[in-house]
């Protein structure tokens, strides 16, 4: 167990370092900061002095090392637009994004599991066909278009729900549905095929022979095994959801991280983008590490495999 734990931990650390390297390289690709900070008619000597002051004339590995030290202290630099630390900005927007992502996670898990189990139980029924058509269509639609269409129908035409903003539960409905659509589809597909496989297994046949009620078999015995692959992809699903919030938040003007990031593209506020990408990626790497470790505890095949 310790060995499994350590190997996973080492992989996570390497991945985090890799992410930091990508963030560092792209930050150097984003153009010369000195030209932004200095007046346009600055002389060559002034530019050189500024570069020296910012440490930009040092070799790249020294710059990268300094960057790592700063990041480890939570210093991603200052937002060019808001004039405050980028990390603080990101952290202040994080709760709204997590609210959206976790609501969508709960919705997609519940609905996906339910539809998946039911369509496996009632194979080739109208519900099964509906689920299959739904899951393949949901995975074929651009998420921001879905958001726009939902606004058109439920906000503009029917006036049932607000178009955008975040002042109450009713504001949560459309963004969460938009965001959850794809994960519902993938959870549904995985649950359905896992359930079909389980319901064919010998131990389930034995339970039937034993005379147990079919409902009891499905919800008590088969469900446990069908849950395994769903939990296995839960880390991936959350990653997808947190990435997806970027688009959905800016469609619905949700005051979260994603909206801030898209604004930062338009205002060329690169420190905020860097901080946002780093924070979400590290969060997701740690989350996946937790899921992996949890699996090692639950399922010995993973630990030794």
């Amino acid at each position: 167990m310790t060995r499994y734990f350590l190997s996973r931990l080492r992989l996570a650390v390497i991945t985090i370092l890799g992410v930091s390297l990508i963030v560092f390289v792209t930050s150097r690709m984003s153009g010369d900061v000195t030209l932004l900070l200095l007046p346009q008619d600055a002389s060559q000597a002034e530019i050189a002095a500024m570069q020296h002051q910012l440490g930009l004339d040092a070799p790249y590995y020294v710059q990268y090392y300094k960057f790592l030290v700063n990041v480890a202290h939570g210093d991603f630099g200052e937002s060019l637009r808001y004039r405050e630390p980028a990390l603080g900005l990101i952290m202040s927007r994080l709760p709204a994004t997590l609210e959206l992502a976790f609501s969508a996670f709960i919705l997609s898990t519940v609905v996906g599991l339910l539809l998946g189990i039911l369509s496996a139980r009632m194979r080739s029924s109208w519900l099964d066909y509906f689920s299959r058509i739904f899951s393949i269509t949901a995975q074929s639609m651009p998420s921001f278009w879905v958001g726009i269409m939902l606004i058109l129908v439920f906000a503009v035409e029917l006036h049932w729900l607000p178009t955008s903003g975040a002042q109450g539960v009713q504001y949560l409905v459309l963004p969460v549905v938009t965001l959850a659509l794809v994960p519902i589809a993938s959870t549904l597909r995985i649950t359905r095929s896992a359930m079909l496989e389980t319901l064919d297994a010998d131990y389930v046949k034995f339970l039937r022979v034993k005379g147990l009620h079919e409902q009891f078999i499905v919800w008590k015995h088969a469900l446990r095994n069908a849950l395994v692959p769903v939990i296995a992809i839960s880390g991936l699903t959350l990653g997808f959801l947190i990435g997806g919030t970027v688009i959905v938040e800016s469609v619905f003007a949700w005051p979260g991280l994603g909206n801030l990031m898209v604004e930062s593209i338009f205002t060329r506020d690169y420190p905020v983008i860097q901080a946002g990408v780093s924070v979400t990626s590290i969060f997701l790497i740690l989350l996946n590490l937790a899921v992996d470790l949890l699996f090692g505890v639950i399922d010995p095949r993973v630990r030794f495999g």
């Binding site: 890799g18 651009p142 278009w145 688009i247 800016s250 898209v262 690169y270 990408v277």
Partner: protein, 296 residues
Amino acid sequence: MATVVIRTQTPAERPLALHWRRVRRLPWLPVILLAPVVICGIFGSLLFPHDPTTIDLLAPRKPPAWMDGGSWQYVLGTDQFGRDLLSRLMEGARVALIVAISSVFLAALIGVTAGMVAGYYGGIIDNVIMRIADVVFAIPAILLIILIGGAVGGGFLTVLSSIVIVSWVLYARVVRGETLVLRERGFVALAKVANCSDTRILLRHILPNLMPTCIVLMTLQAGFALLIEAAITFIGLGIQPPATTWGLLISEGRPYMTTAWWIPTFAGLAITITVLGTNLLGDWLQEKFDPRRQQR
């Protein structure tokens, strides 16, 4: 009489029936969904009812023909500048084809090479390639695109490289897994005995066995590429106007959606239909190549 019966059963009808069965087994639904895109993409400029870039300021935001105020001159209506929506959608099909095909081939080239090399040689090369893949996988695709696009700005090359960067990983991972199995097979050992070089073994003996998987992945990824293109365009880093892409049509039509719902709606439908087509085709190919994995 008896001879007549026999004749109609064997030589004449049976090949036809067989033929018919073969025709019915073709993936008709995906073909029907994808045909308009491919035809418009290739022959678009010959088929346009209007020039997609001609601005008619006298007819901005005209509704589709079947609605009040619409005319058959502009079948699907016009956009905010009075440009014919149908023609712009057809022009968008061309860009969609270019984006999908070029990005898929580039990503497959990089991903399959990386995966084969990693799986075949193992050791440190494998480790390095797979750790790079882990990093790309760890950052949500859209955030990675923002990071890159934010640094270098938007445009066709940004779209292309973004799609390639986020999608080569999938090929690499899948191909590496299959190569690990293939390299233990007898024919690889025999090729080594016959003094084949590593390159020859990879290209002539392993790659052909990877083809079915690659074709399925490429089909599925072609649709995915269009979804990414739309998302990139939405966040302002995509192909810039005056070019026309479906993603751009949705983004540009969004401010007018309350008065001209047809602009974003039809553009989004075009994307959905195309992606649905590639997804269905991918599923069909997967079943065809690997009957064991047939969906139940």
